[in-house]
C-alpha cells in the first residue's frame, strides 16, 4: 500500500495520537504524519473531522476515521496479517474495552485534574483518585495478563496501547509534582509492565520525551492560571 494512501493528522505530544502510531507501528504500516500546529486547526482537520475537530484522524484512501480507539480497532480489523491487537475471545475483548473506557472516562481525567489542581486540599484529593485508579489497573493487569508480559499477553495489545500511551504524561506529572504515582510497593506489576512497554522497539521511537511533556505541562498550567510565560 502506498505511503501517501495513509495519512495521520496529529500532534506528537498527544497520547491519543500516539495510540494510533503504536497500532500502525505494530502492523508495520507506513504512513504520512501531518503535524497540526498547537493552538490552531488546519482546513484538512476541520474537513476530515467536522463533528469534533480533534486529532487524531486517520485518512485512508481519502476516507477519514476519527476517535483514537476506533482507529486502533479499524487498523486491527483491516490489517489482519500483523499481530492481533484485540484479543480473539469475545469475553477478553469485552474486558479490554471496559478498561480502555475506564481509562478514558475516569483515570486519565483524574490525572489531568491532579496536574491542574490548585491548593493543597485539591491536590491531595486529586492524587488519591489517581492512585486508587492505578490500584484498580494493577489488579486488572494481573487478571488480563494471566502471568504474561502485557495486558494483551505475550505482545502489546489494545489495553496496553490504551493505557501505555499515557505513561509519558504520567512520568511528566511525577516529575512536576515530585512524587511517585507508579511504585514498586503499591503497583509492582504495573512498574515492570511500564518499563517493558516503554522499552518496546515500536514504542520508544514514538513516546514523547518526558522533558518535552514537562515543558508543555508547565505552559498549560500557566495558561490555566491566566498568566502566559511567553
Amino acid at each position: 500500500m502506498a505511503t501517501s494512501d495513509i495519512k495521520l493528522i496529529g500532534m506528537r505530544p498527544s497520547p491519543y495520537v500516539n495510540r494510533v502510531q503504536y497500532a500502525l507501528g505494530m502492523k508495520s504500516i507506513d504512513y504520512e504524519f501531518l503535524e497540526e500546529k498547537f493552538g490552531s486547526k488546519s482546513e484538512l482537520l476541520i474537513q476530515s473531522n467536522p463533528i469534533h475537530k480533534k486529532v487524531p484522524v486517520l485518512i485512508h484512501a481519502h476516507k477519514p476515521i476519527c476517535e483514537s480507539l476506533i482507529i486502533v480497532q479499524y487498523i486491527d480489523e483491516l490489517w489482519t496479517s500483523g499481530p492481533s491487537i484485540l484479543p480473539t475471545d469475545p469475553y477478553d475483548r469485552a474486558i479490554a474495552r471496559f478498561w480502555a473506557a475506564y481509562i478514558d472516562d475516569k483515570w486519565y481525567p483524574s490525572l489531568k485534574q491532579f496536574r491542574m489542581a490548585k491548593g493543597e486540599e485539591e491536590k491531595l484529593a486529586a492524587v488519591e483518585a489517581v492512585k486508587e485508579g492505578l490500584a484498580l489497573l494493577e489488579d486488572a493487569f494481573v487478571k488480563c495478563s494471566k502471568g504474561k508480559s502485557f495486558f494483551g499477553g505475550d505482545s502489546i495489545g489494545y489495553l496496553d496501547i490504551a493505557f501505555g500511551c499515557f505513561l509519558g504524561w504520567l512520568k511528566a506529572t511525577e516529575k512536576l509534582a515530585d512524587l511517585k504515582l507508579l511504585d514498586k510497593t503499591t503497583t509492582p506489576h504495573l512498574v515492570v509492565w511500564a518499563e517493558r512497554f516503554c522499552a518496546d522497539g515500536v514504542v520508544k521511537d514514538i513516546m514523547p520525551k518526558t522533558e518535552t511533556l514537562v515543558e508543555i505541562a508547565k505552559i498549560l498550567q500557566a495558561k490555566a492560571r491566566g498568566s502566559n510565560p511567553n
Binding site: I51, E67, Y74, L78, P90, Y91, A94, R97, F98
Partner: protein
C-alpha cells in the same frame, strides 16, 4: 450446555434497553432483573465493583459492564445470527463513531431538558435538537444508520426515543416539528419486535421523570 444470561438493569434505562434489543435481535433468552438504585443488590455491587452501575450483562456468571461494550459482546459471541455491525472495517468504524457520538452528546443534552428551566432549558432544547439534526445528516436517505439493515447505531440510539414524550412535555416543544426525519427513523425501528418489546411506554417514562424532578428538587 444452555447459556445463563442475566441483565441487571432498570426499566427506564436507555442503556439497559440497548442490551435488551441486542439480545432480542440475537434470539437470546435472558432474565431481566430490576435493580433498585437507591438500594443496590449484592450481585450488582459484586459484578460491577468499579462503577456500581447498570446495565450489567452476566453471561454464565461472568459480568460485562458498560452498555456498548455489552452490545459488542452480544454481537461477537452470538455472531451467527442477525449481525449488528457490517463486515467492512470502514463501515464498522463509522458505526462505532456514531454510537460514540450518541454516548457523548444525547444523554446529557436530554437530561438538561428535564433537569433545568428558563434560559438553561432553552439552551438544552437547542443543543438537543442540534444533535438530532447532526444524526439526521448521518442517516441521510437510508432506512437505518448502517444502510438497509437495522444495526449497531440504531441499537445505541433508539432507546432515547422512549424518553422523547418526557423531554417534549417538560420542555414544551415538539421534536417532530424540528426533526421529522429522526422521528420517521425511530418509528421504523419501533416496527421491529426487538425494539417494541424493549422500550417502555413513553407516558410511564414521563411519570418516572416527574418523580425524578421531585427527588432532585426541580
Amino acid at each position: 450446555m444452555s447459556d445463563e444470561v442475566i441483565l441487571l438493569s432498570t426499566w427506564p434505562s436507555m442503556f439497559g434497553m440497548r442490551v435488551q434489543i441486542a439480545l432480542a435481535e440475537k434470539g437470546v433468552e435472558f432474565e431481566f432483573r430490576e435493580e433498585d438504585l437507591t438500594n443496590k443488590s449484592q450481585l450488582l455491587l459484586e459484578m460491577n465493583p468499579i462503577h456500581k452501575k447498570i446495565p450489567v450483562l452476566i453471561h454464565n456468571g461472568k459480568p460485562v459492564c458498560e452498555s456498548l461494550v455489552a452490545v459488542q459482546y452480544v454481537e461477537e459471541f452470538w455472531k451467527d445470527k442477525s449481525p449488528l455491525l457490517p463486515s467492512d472495517p470502514y463501515q464498522r468504524a463509522q458505526a462505532r463513531f456514531w454510537a460514540d457520538y450518541v454516548d457523548k452528546k444525547i444523554y446529557d443534552a436530554g437530561r438538561r431538558i428535564w433537569a433545568t428551566k428558563g434560559e438553561d432549558q432553552e439552551v438544552a432544547k437547542k443543543d438537543f435538537t442540534d444533535c438530532l439534526k447532526v444524526l439526521e445528516g448521518a442517516l441521510g436517505d437510508k432506512p437505518y444508520f448502517g444502510g438497509e439493515e437495522f444495526g449497531y447505531v440504531d441499537v445505541a440510539l433508539v432507546p432515547f426515543y422512549s424518553w422523547f414524550y418526557a423531554y417534549e412535555t417538560c420542555g414544551n416543544f415538539s421534536i417532530q416539528a424540528e426533526c421529522p426525519k429522526f422521528i420517521a427513523w425511530a418509528k421504523r425501528c419501533m416496527e421491529r419486535e426487538s425494539v417494541a418489546k424493549s422500550l417502555p411506554d413513553p407516558h410511564k417514562v414521563y411519570g418516572f421523570v416527574l418523580e425524578l424532578k421531585k427527588r432532585v428538587g426541580i
